[in-house]
């Protein structure tokens, strides 16, 4: 150590408390900040959970008395002021089925293309941008698109087919994005090892990449199922009937749907018993929660079987 260094150190000591004291004071204030941050974050999390719990709680308390086998599996009676909601449940299943039949193959194949074939070029970036934007389109705009494209232009009329396709278009971007993300979570080194064995690009996708991306792809699809089941706007003008107390047996028919039924009971018909409104909403939310839980369990189970 030379003279200059010693003098600088002395000056520093004279000007401020000893470094040890500073460190302790610092530590105490850091602890305070730390616990404050913890509290704020906890508060935000609680604030987010409270509405969700309140909604479910209210639905159960007010709606559970309405639940019965007759309610779930019966036909609506007296202009929907009595009876069951079976046609709406079946109609929702039809609509979701049609939307999946369209969105899953198209979405998964598009996701495979974007992840495995498109590369980083300008075309891929434009397609990516289009998909992100499509995901941000409000559902009522999807409804108008469905009305124009499927009901009128393709002459499908107001039908399960038109409504399901509209829901399919709405869910497509998320299915594409989650498929792409699931495929890209499979390490590149697996592909490289496979290519180096003279295994073709498609065989590598089919036998290495896809099987290991399946959990992620399935989870994305199931989450979109619950979204399709819950949305009202896209089927408003395209496939859902206000009151149609028969079970559909053809995609060219209209049908009732749970989300639409709740909307109708609450806003359009006087004299509906309160518990029927809450009961219908409870069935809808219950279906969505059930599907989401199924997705969570499936993801947990498949993650446990991860192969690397």
């Amino acid at each position: 150590m030379n003279g200059t260094d010693v003098r600088t150190a002395e000056q520093a000591t004279a000007a401020s408390p000893s470094p040890t004291t500073v460190a302790f004071a610092d530590l105490a204030s850091r602890r305070r900040t730390e616990s404050l941050a913890g509290l704020v974050l906890l508060g935000a999390a609680a604030l987010a959970a409270i509405p969700a719990l309140a909604i479910v709680g209210l639905l159960i308390v007010r709606g559970a008395p309405a639940l019965s086998l007759e309610f779930l599996f019966g036909m609506p009676l007296h202009g929907m002021t009595a009876g069951g909601i079976f046609p709406a449940i079946v109609g929702t299943l039809w609509l979701v089925g049609v939307s999946l039949a369209f969105a899953v193959p198209v979405g998964v194949l598009a996701g495979i293309y974007l992840s495995e074939y498109a590369g980083e070029g300008r075309v891929a970036r434009i397609v990516d941008l289009a998909i992100v934007n499509l995901a941000a389109v409000p559902s009522i705009v999807h409804a108008l698109f469905g009305l124009g494209a499927f009901v009128l232009f393709m002459r499908l009329g107001t039908s399960i087919l038109a409504g399901g396709l509209t829901l399919g278009v709405m869910t497509l971007p998320v299915i594409i994005t989650s498929t792409k993300a699931a495929l890209q979570s499979v390490p590149h080194s697996f592909r490289l090892a496979s290519w180096n064995l003279g295994v073709s690009r498609w065989q590598t996708i089919r036998h290495i990449v896809l099987p290991n991306a399946l959990p992620g792809i399935l989870t994305g699809i199931i989450l979109q199922v619950s979204r399709a089941a819950g949305e009202t706007a896209p089927i408003l003008f395209t496939g859902a009937a206000f009151y149609l107390p028969i079970l559909p047996d053809d995609v060219r028919m209209q049908s009732m749907a749970l989300s639409m039924h709740v909307y109708a009971l609450v806003t359009q018909i006087p004299d509906v018993p309160l518990e029927m409104k809450y009961g219908s909403a409870l069935v809808l939310v219950g279906t969505v929660v059930l599907l989401n839980s199924f997705a969570t369990v499936l993801r947990y189970y498949l993650r446990r079987n991860r192969k690397w």
Binding site: A193, L197, G198, I208
Partner: protein, 252 residues
């Protein structure tokens, strides 16, 4: 042709680029039958790029090459790339167990070209794992995941998989950087045994490894082959000053 035999793999005036950056400059090399050709040189010298030209995986990485690469006298541009990759096997620096059983790892490539007979597959798996000195350690648990083996075992699994296509040339790119010295020595012994049947290109950053097992060694620097000679000659009496400095640890 050397002494009337076909040269397994020959590179002449090879240039390669990533975008506008030239990574190989007029590289010429030949791998003779039943020899280990060592390739040494500091990082960034084009060793790995040279290997990717041999089985045309350069194009998968977005690179471009010009020049001649011949496998048994035939230009690799005229061979189907997937067939070429079965004939020129590649072992990469980091061990990769594919996310499937040990058995399936080795049977994967044969299955993809249509081998379905169980007995035939059993034979391939046993032969390749034995050649890679892994059979005794895994023969009782072939159904376990290849990804759960230790690093050294996974690198031998990678080697067994590379041998499953019955290649004519085996290329190894710094195979020992992620594995323990004991496994390294075992694989070196395997390579010396294997060269009785096939030709081997061994890219390595361990000078002593090249010295131990390579019959001839090439020194690459900044995309060019500076010098190529029988291994002892290259290490003891290098003609080029840069080779001399590198093999004596003065840079790199």
């Amino acid at each position: 042709m050397v002494n009337g035999t076909v040269i397994p793999l020959e590179v002449r005036d090879l240039n390669a680029w990533y975008g506008t950056r030239q990574v190989l400059k007029n590289v010429s090399l030949a791998v003779r039958p039943n020899e280990i050709l060592g390739v040494i040189g500091p990082a960034g010298g084009g060793k790995t790029t040279m290997l990717t030209c041999l089985n045309r995986t350069l194009e998968l990485a977005g690179g471009r090459s010009e020049g001649i690469v011949r496998i048994e006298g035939e230009s690799v541009d005229k061979v189907d790339p997937n067939e070429l990759r079965r004939r020129v096997a590649m072992v990469l620096p980091l061990p990769v167990g594919l996310p499937m059983s040990i058995y399936d790892n080795v049977a994967f490539a044969p299955r993809m070209v249509g081998v379905t007979n169980r007995r035939e597959l059993d034979e391939i798996v046993e032969r390749c794992l034995t050649q890679a000195a892994l059979w005794d350690e895994v023969k009782d648990r072939l159904d376990q995941l290849g990804t759960r083996l230790s690093g050294g075992q996974q690198q031998r699994l990678t080697l067994a998989r590379a041998l499953s296509t019955e290649p004519e040339v085996l290329c190894l790119d710094e195979f020992s950087i992620a594995i323990d010295p004991v496994t390294t020595m075992r694989i070196e012994a395997v390579l010396v045994e294997l060269k009785k049947q096939i030709s081997i290109v061994l890219v390595t950053n361990l000078l002593q490894q090249a010295r131990r097992i390579a019959d001839r060694t090439a020194f690459m620097l900044l995309g060019s082959v500076i010098e190529e000679a029988p291994t002892e000659e290259l290490f003891e009496f290098p003609k080029d000053k840069r080779t001399h400095d590198y093999v004596n640890g003065k840079f790199g």
